[in-house]
Symmetry: C2
Subunit: 338 residues, 2 copies
């Protein structure tokens, strides 16, 4: 919880990255009570100008003493930066919301999605972790179902946008697409294989069990967020040539029989969710519609014809917003004294 103040000194670490920029813009958009916003980045990006509330602010180089006198820091500069600087920020008395994977699975660090487990924040000062993008949109959709029907097992295949890999990946997709359309050779820098006009069943590093880190984030983070190890997730994370917003094809088995109609009713109007499910009018969630929106969109809700306890549906969310920056700012809002 932040101390009671009218306005706060707020840092965004990694302010020039795709998520950092979203954080700055969402803090403004949601009128977070900010006295001064200090954007930090590496030496290389220091000096960059950003706009905040109509004024130009200059990105500063992150240093060990950067956090003196600050109230809150939102980190999104990768796990290494978080591991090095988040403890320093906490020591300086600053609340930290960390979008990296550095602390997510640490026992004493809350991992929070405000629509799902706001109470996990507790009263302790320190770091609060922001879950991975693919997890966040999934748990927002699972929450009302777990409350009402108890979720037993989820088989999920993702269709993840390149923005999740940062600005360079967006440029790589655009550049590769342009070259392929022109019949030219392509360069590969961010991804090991061509991403334009291709799907890659590969996100983050492979582990010994044949899963990728990205797969296992969905498995482990979901259990932690629900504080329920009984929820089983069978994941396949796939990168697709979409610029922004992740889609997920989700099969959910509940503890007992459910119908698509009951599931639709439970999802409709639940926090953070918007049902778009009118196939006869060609209305269903699309990545291009999810980008720039706050809600997790859900549709194509239908009975699993092979299991009376299960349904299939399709969810879409802006991975930079609800999947990262917005969720972090929502956590920050929970830290404001009421």
């Amino acid at each position: 919880m932040l101390k009671k103040k009218e306005k706060y000194q707020v840092a965004v670490v990694g302010a020039t990255g795709v998520v950092g920029r979203e954080m700055v813009s969402i803090l403004e958009e949601r009128s977070f009570p900010i006295d001064r916003l200090i954007p930090f980045a590496s030496h290389r990006s220091a000096g960059t100008k950003l706009m905040f509330k109509g004024k130009e602010i200059t990105v500063q180089e992150l240093k060990e003493n950067s956090f003196a006198g600050l109230d809150l820091a939102l980190f999104s500069a990768g796990a290494e930066v978080s591991r090095q600087y988040a403890p320093l920020a906490v020591k300086a008395g600053c609340a930290v919301i960390d979008n990296s994977s550095a602390f997510r699975m640490e026992k004493d660090i809350p991992l929070v999605v405000p629509e799902v487990n706001p109470d996990a924040i507790g009263d302790r000062p320190g770091v609060i972790a922001n879950p991975n993008c693919s997890t966040i949109q999934l748990v927002v959709a699972l929450k009302p179902l777990h409350d009402k029907f108890r979720v037993k097992r989820v088989v999920v295949s993702t269709y993840q946008a390149v923005s999740g890999s940062g600005q360079k990946a967006v440029l790589e997709l655009r550049e590769q697409s342009r070259n392929i359309l022109a019949g030219k050779a392509i360069d590969k820098t961010v991804y090991p294989h061509q991403i334009a006009f291709n799907c890659q069943p590969h996100i983050d590093a492979f582990l010994d069990n044949g899963y990728k880190k990205e797969d296992m984030k969905m498995v482990n983070e979901t259990k932690k967020i629900f504080a329920d190890d009984s929820i089983q997730i069978s994941p396949t994370a796939v990168r697709v040539p979409v610029i922004n917003a992740h889609s997920e094809s989700v099969n959910v088995e509940m503890a007992g029989p459910v119908t698509a109609a009951e599931v639709r009713e439970a999802l409709d109007g639940a926090p953070g969710l918007k049902v778009i499910d009118c196939p006869e009018k060609n209305e269903y969630p699309l990545a291009i519609d999810g980008a720039g929106r706050d809600h997790v969109l859900v549709g194509r809700i239908r009975n699993d014809l092979t299991n009376p306890n299960a349904v299939n549906f399709w969810i879409v969310a802006d991975n930079l917003r609800k999947g990262a920056a917005l969720n972090a700012v929502q956590i920050a809002e929970l830290l404001l004294p009421r």
Copy 2:
């Protein structure tokens, strides 16, 4: 079965379409014993020139009496054309292999994937149906698993290329991509929504149960091909901005416990399959590698951590070749007297 001859009179109906062109080229590539190849198309496309065995052949307009004296006709001109002309071809004594959905689920029509159910062809003259592209690659991968472990339930999410919707869809993806990269407005003709840089959980028409025809093709065709109604398929068919070759994320539950290693062994070297599964070297099936190849590629084989009887894997196949034209020509090869 075709009559014993040295070479045959073979028609390709829909010869100017993406699948029809593949049929012509695969008939040549596999040296099917052809005396004369007659390409047919609608009035609009008649007169188009195609190359076959180094010679130019002229596409003829399909007419009711087109099949007199022909031995074999491969149809890929849509269900309506098949419904109208395939019976005329059969009446004229011609064997028909039909790539449309027109006859697939008819009780007396064999639905054949040569690696899976070659014996379904039988001795009766008439129409043999070629399954849908998304089904073919799935059943080729399920076959060795069903033989060895008995497949009970499959949850499959597809990543389907636009070539499955024909040449116009390929042009639409390219044109939309080009315009978006240039910051211009896009046109939509083939698909109800933008397909460039987007995923659509929508292929073919929606049905009352919330599934699409494309979803239900996987469900019903798989049961028919295996002649086993106990195989349960829970499908989600999705169109992605890939030019050619479908990918599928597949979760398969067997009748008893299996390991990824046992599944890999069963798949490795099975007819029509090629295992590419070396994640530590970034080797796994990719749409861009599947295009132009005959095999169904399978990789990312791993234990389902939520079910000891299940595994997850990823399959890729050229939907125009194994998913359509190659499978049809393989059926034709089965009709040759031995």
